[in-house]
């Protein structure tokens, strides 16, 4: 290899390493930043891959050592260092793939070997497959090794070197059955491409693999994996195409080389653009995210403006908080927005955008969340994390003795409803204006019990609290007070509020 070619190869590897290591630590610190490519690690139902090589269905012969039932590989408790190490290993394997590809391209006398290397180095399919831990992400490396050793076994004279090359080729090819079951068809093709039949060696490696690797002993889990697909498999298929192109057309014109270079450069730009779009929330944005995660009712529609739209998947946080809502983008002028439904929340950085909404909250000084639900007296008053009062109305502002007073409240349950909240109830007190110490009504409404049926963050509309006035209550103006308290300890949750003034004739 010429010196300038070596220099070029090293330069490509450096670029590839830099692209891969850029943002390699992304999302490790917070589960809500998990990238979709790594969601599979959180699933409790796993199928066969390199990462789950020792998987076995539940209840299958526990006396055989080393087998584990399908379980999540990563949880929010997993040490980020361990996950980072796996990602770095993935990056290293990606670099090895580039090395093998360029070596093969050079050996095939392809003039554009370096463009092929650069493509694998910076194209988004390969970078994402290497940087993120994907289920079948080692497939490109196995294919590169198999291809290189296949070429070597055809070039080398008979002897131990050729045998070694055949063994490496066969092992790398058959390893695809474990590390990328969707590529089972590639295994057959790669084995057929061998210059001479080595069926004994193939059979031995295959059967030994089945004996040693529990994942290959379980058809149900293997077939589930074989029906899957991910970025690693896509990258492997593109690599196969690239290898075929290197072999089929080693010579290209200068114009073709330039076009290819521009295309590769464009793909690298896409990779960098995708990296730049990875949301990196600051402290204020985290405040907004946490606020929304505690306040978005299930299955509601939430609209985001351009500035806050990248935060939507973090708010949803499928691997952590798992908030289910319909994300809606800000309607673009001149485009049909008739399909848009009124959102429950509209999240914006512009206070004017939410100015016309019935109620809006300001979060962390720079975000405004407008609430779309139209209520007569919209408020947002929290009582601990048990309920949030969204609206209250004193429907009978004047009354006589014996009369029933009717109050409407609309509220939302808090984000962490547990059996402990059953100890809490709402109360209504009636105190004369100017004499808050004398209470004429002590009414308790255990409406918080309903949270057991509805769950967290559910909005309850049009709840009425009715109580009768005592015949002894003197005429005058009274404050109707509302609060939440612990029925066992008497401890109040949050501050008491005055719902209105009741005039008693």
């Amino acid at each position: 290899m010429r010196l300038q070619d070596k220099f070029l190869a090293v330069l490509i590897l450096l670029i590839a390493a830099a692209v891969r290591l850029n943002a390699v630590t992304y999302g490790l610190a917070h589960v809500c930043l998990a990238v979709p490519e790594e969601y599979w690690q959180y699933n409790s139902s796993q199928s066969v891959s390199l990462y789950t090589w020792n998987i076995a269905p539940k209840d299958v012969l526990p006396n055989l050592p080393g087998r584990i039932p399908p379980t999540a590989l990563v949880t929010d408790k997993t040490d980020p260092i361990n996950r980072l190490v796996v990602r770095l290993i993935g990056c290293a394997m990606g670099l090895l793939t580039i090395v093998f590809l360029m070596r093969l391209g050079y050996a095939l006398h392809a003039r554009w070997w370096w463009i092929a290397g650069l493509l694998v180095g910076i194209a988004p399919w390969f970078v994402m497959s290497d940087r993120w831990t994907q289920q079948f992400d080692t497939a490109p490396l196995a294919i590169a090794i198999a291809a290189l050793s296949l070429w070597k076994s055809g070039c080398l004279p008979s002897g131990w070197r050729q045998t070694l090359a055949v063994v490496i080729h066969t092992t790398a090819t058959l390893s695809l059955l474990l590390i990328a079951p969707p590529l089972w068809w590639v295994v057959g093709i790669m084995l057929v491409l061998q210059p001479r039949s080595h069926w004994r060696l193939t059979l031995f490696i295959l059967l030994t693999g089945i004996v040693l690797i529990p994942g290959l002993q379980t058809p149900e889990l293997w077939l589930a994996a074989a029906q899957g697909w991910d970025g690693g498999v896509t990258a492997a298929c593109i690599l196969i195409g690239l290898l075929l192109a290197l072999w089929w057309r080693p010579s290209t014109s200068i114009l073709q080389t330039r076009i290819m270079f521009v295309l590769v450069f464009f793909m690298g730009s896409i990779t960098l653009y995708m990296d730049s779009q990875l949301p990196q929330p600051n402290a204020s944005q985290w405040d907004l995210i946490y606020w929304l995660q505690t306040r978005i009712p299930d299955d509601s529609i939430v609209r985001f403006d351009f500035a806050t739209w990248p935060l939507a998947p973090i708010v949803a946080c499928p691997m952590g908080a798992d908030i289910h809502f319909q994300k809606q983008f800000l309607g673009v002028p001149f485009f049909d927005t008739s399909v848009f439904q009124d959102p429950y929340y509209f999240v914006s950085t512009d206070p004017k955008a939410v100015a016309n909404m019935p109620y809006s909250s300001q979060i962390a000084d720079q975000f405004w969340v407008g609430r779309g639900i139209d209520l007569a007296n919209p408020v947002d008053i929290g009582f601990g994390d048990i309920i949030h009062l969204l609206n209250f109305e004193l429907l009978t502002p004047t009354a006589n003795q014996f009369d029933v007073v009717n109050i409407r409240i609309d509220y939302q349950f808090g984000s962490s409803i547990t059996p402990d909240v059953l100890a809490y109830a709402g109360y209504i007190h009636l105190t004369a204006q100017g004499d808050p110490t004398t209470n004429w009504v002590n009414y308790t409404d255990p409406f918080i019990e309903e949270s057991g049926n509805t769950g967290s963050r559910r909005v309850i509309l049009n709840h009425h609290i009715r109580f009768a006035l005592s015949p002894k209550i003197p005429a005058g103006s009274y404050d109707v007070r509302f609060g939440v308290y612990n029925i066992y300890s008497g401890e109040r949750k949050g501050d008491e509020i005055i719902l209105g003034t009741l005039l008693i004739n």
Binding site: V60, L61, F204, I210, P214
Partner: protein, 473 residues
């Protein structure tokens, strides 16, 4: 001298504490062994018949059904080992392979677990080995006498386990090979019809009983003994269960021999020298056949139902190691090392058993003491000859009283239903014994809950064993 000494050792090991005798269906088979010789047979009496018949016959002499089963197992192991030796001689033509196969089989750790089973596992393994021997014997010396022997052994295998019927395929195979070797169609047909006729005639009671039970008593019998066929007949096909059966079959096989042994055997079969290649592939075919019918027919292809390939695996392993021993100095060292490593789990298992298990401990166990005391109590009450039905599975093996276990294998209905048994108990003037152990048969729950049903009258109790007479009401 080594093998007889080792067999004595194996016998000592198989006489373990009573807790380990209480294993899966052991007690039911031991109970059957005694009932058969008293003329009491379950509906599907042909199911796994031969082993309890032999154990029961020995029990008539020894007067200890557990000891009878241990002696039977030891003799059967001896027969299996002799069979493996003969197969090694006939298939591979080398005494060293035969001895090595015998030793490797003896030191198979799972075989010790098989010895603990007082049911048709070890007998069927022996029957399979001898069926193969009979088949080869007919091929080597095709006479009517040998064909008769082949048919009889195959019938015996069928009466040992239902899967034995599959080995009837040896009859056409032997006939075809005889014809191919000698070009004598008449001789081949004679072999075919003689062995086939003997097998068919001997299996007539088996077939008739099976059909009768399936039509009149238990419709699920055929499902329970035809494994995967019942799954394929479902709509939609129960693929998830079929995949699981496949996994269980494979992992079951892998758990019987160390992984190293498997790798050696795979290499040995693939790179077998021409001298032993045919024999190796015959053994592979026999293993494949074993796997096939276990996967297809077994109630569940668990480890315990797939052990019948142990002898053929040992032969392949022995032949492979023998091949390595002959290849050169380094290969010899490797072969010796492999031999040690393959036998190591078995040796360590054996060592642990010898150290930890008290010899003949079952005779001094709590259950044995209870059994003897119960016998005395029954004699005092004049009930020693009374037929007693019970769900208490463990005590009948330690007592000489006339117990009959109310029991089912995998069959959910048909066997020992209260609808059939209660009138029978009443007519016989027999007793029902309960002891508070869980009863897994749902149809009995209504009759036994609360614990003392109104139509049963307690006639006495000893320790936690309560005896009831069943009234007509």
């Amino acid at each position: 001298m080594l093998i007889p000494c080792f067999l004595v050792l194996v016998f000592v090991i198989s006489t373990q504490s009573s807790a380990q005798i209480n294993f899966l269906d052991n007690f039911w088979y031991l109970n059957r062994a005694r009932l058969i010789w008293q003329g009491t047979l379950p509906d599907l009496f042909v199911y796994a018949l031969s082993y309890p018949v032999v154990v029961g016959a020995l029990d008539l002499v020894v007067k200890d059904v557990i000891l009878s089963a241990m002696i039977t197992n030891t003799v059967l192991l001896w027969c299996a080992l002799v069979g493996v030796y003969i197969l090694g001689e006939w298939l591979f033509g080398r005494r060293r392979i035969s001895w090595l196969a015998v030793v490797l089989m003896l030191f198979n750790a799972y075989l010790f677990d098989v010895l603990r089973l007082f049911w048709a596992t070890l007998p069927f393994m022996t029957a399979v080995v001898w069926s193969v021997i009979a088949c080869i014997y007919v091929i080597r010396r095709p006479t009517i006498g040998k064909a008769l022997l082949l048919g009889a052994i195959l019938a015996l295998a069928t009466y040992t386990r239902v899967e034995g019927t599959m080995y009837a395929i040896f009859i056409p195979i032997a006939s075809a090979i005889v014809y191919r070797q000698r070009r004598d169609l008449r001789l081949a047909l004679t072999i075919f019809f003689t062995a086939g006729l003997v097998f068919a005639v001997l299996c007539i009671p088996f077939a008739l009983n099976f059909i009768y039970v399936n039509r009149n008593i238990d419709h699920e019998v055929s499902d329970a003994v035809t494994g995967i066929i019942s799954l394929v007949n479902r709509t939609p096909i129960a693929w998830s269960i079929i995949w699981r059966r496949m996994t269980d079959t494979l992992t079951g096989m892998l758990s019987i021999w160390p992984m190293l042994a498997w790798i050696v055997v795979i290499a040995g079969v693939i790179w077998a020298s021409p001298r032993i290649r045919t024999a190796q592939w015959i053994c592979v075919a026999l293993i494949g056949f074993n796997v096939f019918y276990t996967f297809v027919l077994a109630i569940w292809p668990g480890t315990v139902h797939i052990v019948f390939f142990i002898p053929f695996f040992a032969l392949i392993l022995a032949a492979t190691l023998d091949q390595l021993l002959e290849m050169g100095r380094w290969s010899r060292y490797i072969a010796q090392l492999l031999c040690v490593l393959v036998m190591l789990p078995g040796v360590s298992h054996l060592g642990r058993e010898v150290i930890t298990l008290p010899v003949m401990a079952y005779r001094t166990s709590d259950l044995a003491v209870s059994g003897r005391a119960l016998d005395e109590w029954l004699t005092q009450k004049g009930l020693e000859k009374t037929h007693i039905y019970t769900f208490c599975s463990s005590i009948p093996s330690f007592s000489r009283a006339d117990f009959q276990l109310i029991y089912r294998l995998q069959f959910t209905t048909g066997w020992d239903t209260p609808k059939r048994l209660i009138p029978q108990i009443r007519e016989e003037g027999a007793l029902l014994m309960l002891c508070g152990n869980p009863i897994y048969f749902r149809d009995w729950h209504q009759l036994l809950e609360p614990n003392v049903p109104p139509s049963y009258h307690e006639i006495g109790r000893f320790e936690n064993y309560v005896f009831y007479r069943v009234d007509g009401a």
